[in-house]
């Protein structure tokens, strides 16, 4: 079984502000169920965490810049590590991911063993 990094991209940077606590609870229950199923089948590597939509970029030469507003939709909103036999199977798993709504995507990247 190989490990795959799931990157959850896009989404609403203010989603937590735009939802009632009940809506958030419903949303998180979906995450619990999805990861719970993967865990039960031995496909959960690390659940990972959501990320805030702010941050800085450090370039070579020590140049530090804030994210620009234009980039926000492209930002990674969170990550997990999922175990699967093949990348096709990993993609099947991703189809059930609660991150997938509106214009959000799940980027799947096999983790390289060096």
């Amino acid at each position: 079984m190989r490990e795959f990094l799931f990157l959850y991209k896009g989404g609403d940077p203010d989603w937590a502000k735009n939802r009632t606590p009940e809506e958030i609870q419903v949303e998180m229950a979906k995450w619990g169920e999805w990861l719970g199923k993967l865990q039960a089948n031995g496909n959960l590597g690390t659940g990972g965490d959501p990320l805030e939509y702010t941050g800085k970029t450090v370039a070579s030469g020590g140049v530090v810049t804030d994210f620009s507003l234009a980039e926000v939709k492209e930002l990674v909103g969170g990550y997990s590590i999922i175990k699967a036999e093949t990348i096709e199977q990993a993609a099947e798993f991703a189809k059930g991911c609660p991150a997938l709504h509106d214009e959000s995507t799940v980027e799947i990247r096999p983790i390289m063993k060096m």
Partner: protein, 429 residues
């Protein structure tokens, strides 16, 4: 002020077991103490908050939420350093799934199942027999250590040691239902321990309120087995047996706490509703899957027959004699044989029972309950009019009796019988 303390002490009794069980499920048995700490903190928070702003409408829901929130704080603080419950630790490790995972455990159905898991864990073969009651009283019944010490007639330091050892053992156990193969023996131990808890309450004379609490807790744990769908014929038998006994709770001792024999009890004090409830439980013994022991259903049928008699003289001794011979077949216990003799003594007269009891006394001279065998023999001699033999055997029984209560009961019964041999005041089995 007083009512706040009353509410909290009531909640301690009803909620502690539920909360410790669900938190042990989440944190894992190796973090059992963490679970106890979280419960303690939830109670402290309730005390401080309710002191300021009054008791909320639904205090148990408030407490549940406080424990849930505290658990989430603890998980966030400890998850890099600790592992939690085997199958949940990864889900608790991730912010995506942590709160949902905790919330799912805090649902009523899961809390009930967790209490069942806790019962089975406390009765696991790895936990020493003498340590089972203290841990059950602490974790499932929410009793304080002083209250446990008082009820079990042990020093507080002894109870603390027992709890400490048990927690160490629990760290290596799994918080799971026994599988199909291990369920029957596990259930048999659980029944035994529940009955022990009940008897501690029923026969204790330390504190009437604690006694009644113990009996109620034993009934509640038995109910949990039924609600959780693991009940077999023994569970229903035990549930029925405890109900028939508990129905007689108020008539079983006099105003000084001395036990009153079945023949002298005021039957109007018997709790009819509970007897009916006992009958419903007894009715399920025949349809439930058979239990490992089989004794509880028979004992319940005997207790039920006593409860059905309007007066002691109207007791259906024929049925009771038959039930006891079944009990002897099932258990092979000398105590069951002794009780069978008592029933025969009432059914066919003392002469029919005396030879068998004489034999039992000879066979079991060193039995822990040898004085009970002698007491029954003394009683039969007295009823047969053999005064001097009755007193001679009674003296030997009195020498072996463990409590003043037992001695006074026996003395009174023999005096009653021998003092006026024509009266029909008689002892209960």
């Amino acid at each position: 002020m007083n009512s706040l303390e009353d509410t909290l002490s009531q909640l301690h009794r009803t909620e502690t077991g539920r909360l410790i069980s669900v938190l042990t499920r989440i944190f894992g048995p190796h973090n059992h103490e963490l679970a106890e700490d979280v419960v303690q903190e939830a109670f402290s928070k309730a005390f401080r908050s309710w002191q300021e702003s009054g008791i909320p409408d639904n205090p148990s829901a408030w407490l549940l939420t406080a424990a849930r929130n505290r658990a989430i704080d603890v998980i966030r603080r400890e998850r890099r350093a600790k592992t939690f419950s085997d199958d949940l630790t990864k889900l608790l490790d991730s912010e995506w799934s942590m709160t949902a995972t905790v919330d799912e455990q805090f649902t009523e159905g899961n809390i009930r199942d967790d209490q069942l898991r806790m019962i089975f864990m406390c009765c696991a073969p790895e936990i020493a027999e003498e340590n089972r009651l203290p841990i059950i009283l602490r974790t499932l019944c929410g009793l304080s250590i002083p209250a446990i010490a008082k009820a079990l007639l042990q020093e507080e330091s002894t109870i603390n040691k027992r709890l400490y050892r048990t927690r160490q053992r629990m760290a290596g156990l799994s918080f799971e239902f026994p599988d199909e193969e291990r369920l029957p023996p596990a259930l048999q131990t659980v029944h035994h321990v529940i009955y022990l808890l009940f008897n501690e309450g029923y026969h204790s004379s330390t504190d009437a309120a604690i006694s009644e609490d113990f009996c109620r807790e034993a009934l509640r744990l038995c109910d949990l087995l039924e609600e959780g769908g693991v009940a077999d014929a023994d569970t229903f038998g035990l549930g029925a047996l405890m109900r028939f006994h508990f129905a007689r709770f108020r008539s079983r001792v006099d105003g000084f706490g001395n036990p009153i024999g079945l023949d002298e009890q005021d039957r109007t004090l018997w709790d009819r509703e509970r007897i009916e409830d006992g009958r419903r439980w007894l009715g399920q013994v025949t349809t439930a899957p058979p239990g490992a022991s089989g004794r509880y259903g028979i004992e319940a049928a005997i207790a039920g027959t006593h409860c059905a008699a309007e007066s002691f003289n109207k007791t259906d001794w024929a049925t009771i004699t038959q039930l006891y011979s079944r009990l002897v077949d099932v258990t092979g216990s000398p105590i069951a044989r002794l009780n069978q003799c008592v029933a025969v003594g009432y059914h066919r007269g003392p002469a029919a029972a005396i030879p068998a009891v004489e034999e039992l006394c000879r066979e079991h001279e060193t039995h822990a309950a040898a004085h009970s065998f002698l007491a029954v023999l003394a009683h039969l001699y007295a009823r047969a009019g053999e005064t001097s033999r009755a007193w001679e055997v009674a003296e030997r029984a009195l020498a072996g009796a463990r409590t003043e209560h037992e001695r006074s009961l026996l003395r009174r019964q023999i005096t009653n019988l021998v003092g006026s041999p024509t009266t029909s005041r008689e002892e209960a089995p």
